[in-house]
Symmetry: C2
Subunit: 328 residues, 2 copies
């Protein structure tokens, strides 16, 4: 059974669509870390992206690529987190209605930000309701197009613009990266970046990083078929808890990825604290797993140039406090 | 009485010396803020500089410009904060000894970072000792060159590289800024940036921002002569509490600056919280005063492109907590 491919041309088209709306986020180094690991690490700071995560790229690209009369009828997303904010902000910019299906117990800050973008929130009960059914029912009654957080070619192409920007920045700097580490939930981010690197810098090793115990993607890659996490909650990395790889991204990632790593919650929290104290960057645990893999020594950086994607920065104050207290 | 001038050539020389050691920090926008103020604001993120503040630029340039046999005998700085870290790190990179004269009650984190760079700390008692005398006595006994935090042409030239980078980035982006807001303590940062803008983008309005009650610089500019703050402590903006303008910078700033603003401690803390929540940036209160002036409406940004320097990000956890709790 075929899935739609995503090509470097799709990524180039996406880059054109998001230009001027999404930030070209900076690549930031950390000499202290370089000394520690004996290599050169550069962080692609998607925590500094509009809405605080890479999700805005895919969401904006998807809305921009939709036929106008379809887009006008509105978009729907199922998310309590970064994807919700990305879709809500993209819809606001196009002046179209957005509806976010969100658990009643979603964090107040994420709810407030989503509402601020003008989105309507439809609550569901995590325990007694199926969120996909709630979304489907809403669309049946009210119309609108579902924007999937990762299993969508335009979403993947939008995230792929990160890869294109990294390649462009490295070329300008005269840097030849050896590897890139990418936080992984449903696999849309790694799929898009993987396509960009296979075309633009094909020698670079492309690895994903997942929370320990939620390594559905790594296990799926090892088996060559999609498997599911046994738990759906229980990691501090709330941004990375997709139940299983999306089919479209998996078809790409099977050929493009060269490795899969995991980090513990404590390692992710240590990375959050390191980013805060040593780089003055606010990163959420799920966004920091690539940095965590480097800090914990799970990835050999000796004499290598390694790009690490910091995928998001929407952290609750209490989680940041937990991270900072660990370091004291 | 003449003071040594600092020219655009000195800044170009400094840029060559610090290249590869100091970060070329990013210019980062915030669409949410742009909507709010009706203009376009771009933040020059020196909180993301090596050691967490712009001070590294001036310190490194000063050490790099010193005759080698002088540098080898070591450097001395009087500071409990960002200048100490900048000088200590620059000395480490040159492999020369650094001694930092620091109050015994300096924050533990700042002390730890300074020690980490290999610097020796000489304690003094804020109440009963004059820190400049302590430094002078140390140099008389042990040798070494004092690196002043702002009243030094090479320090000013180093800070001026920020202006050169902003001009270069704006030119690349096709942006013509109308104004720049610069946090101001002793005036070294604004003096360097002012020289760069007078030469490279002479139509840009260059304003400094000080903590309310510590507006020695603004009052000195208005009077045309150097005056001193009545208090030496008592603002949350600890990075900006120099007692009076440095003579070298003042001679430059008299001709180059077009305005001076002040912000309250509460306004600075609100900016710290805004930078954290909306931009995922860690900024210290003194580093955030330019942003505070914009957020509090003290500077009209309507239909203008305004550059705001975020000069540092070395904030204590407790101060950040205070800032975040205000917003809730």
């Amino acid at each position: 059974m075929g899935v739609p491919p995503v090509t470097i041309d799709d990524i180039a088209d996406a880059a054109g669509r998001i230009a001027g709306q999404a930030a070209r986020t900076p690549l930031i180094g950390c000499p202290l870390l370089d000394d520690r690991v004996g290599g050169r690490i550069l962080f692609k700071c998607e925590n500094l992206q509009r809405t605080g995560s890479f999700k805005f790229r895919g969401a904006y690209n998807t809305l921009a690529a939709m036929p106008q009369d379809l887009r006008r009828r509105g978009v729907v997303a199922v998310s309590s987190g970064n994807h919700a904010q990305g879709v809500a902000e993209a819809a606001r910019l196009f002046g179209v209605p957005a509806t976010i299906v969100m658990p009643v117990d979603a964090p107040a800050t994420k709810r407030r930000r989503t509402v601020r973008s003008g989105a309507r929130i439809v609550d569901y009960d995590r325990v007694n309701e199926d969120r996909d059914k709630v979304a489907a029912q809403f669309i049946m009654r009210n119309g609108g197009t579902l924007v999937h957080p990762y299993n969508d070619p335009q979403v993947i192409a939008g995230q792929g613009t990160i890869g294109a920007e990294i390649i462009s920045a490295c070329t300008t700097l005269g840097l030849e990266p050896d590897a890139i580490l990418i936080p992984c939930g449903g696999g849309g981010l790694s799929a898009g970046i993987g396509v960009a690197f296979r075309e633009g810098m094909s020698d670079v090793a492309v690895s994903i990083v997942e929370p320990a115990g939620f390594d559905d993607y790594g296990r799926s890659l090892a088996l060559g078929e999609i498997v599911t996490n046994s738990s759906l909650a229980g990691s501090i990395c709330d941004a990375l808890l997709a139940p299983s790889p999306g089919a479209i991204g998996f078809a790409l990632n099977k050929g493009n990825l060269t490795g899969a790593l995991t980090v513990t919650d404590d390692e992710a929290l240590d990375a959050v604290a390191f980013a805060f104290r040593e780089m003055r960057l606010v990163v959420e645990p799920g966004g920091a797993v690539g940095m965590a893999a480097v800090l914990a020594g799970h990835f050999d950086c000796q004499d290598r140039v390694v790009i690490v994607v910091l995928s998001g920065g929407n952290i609750d104050d209490s989680v940041l406090r937990t991270a900072l207290e660990r370091g004291n």
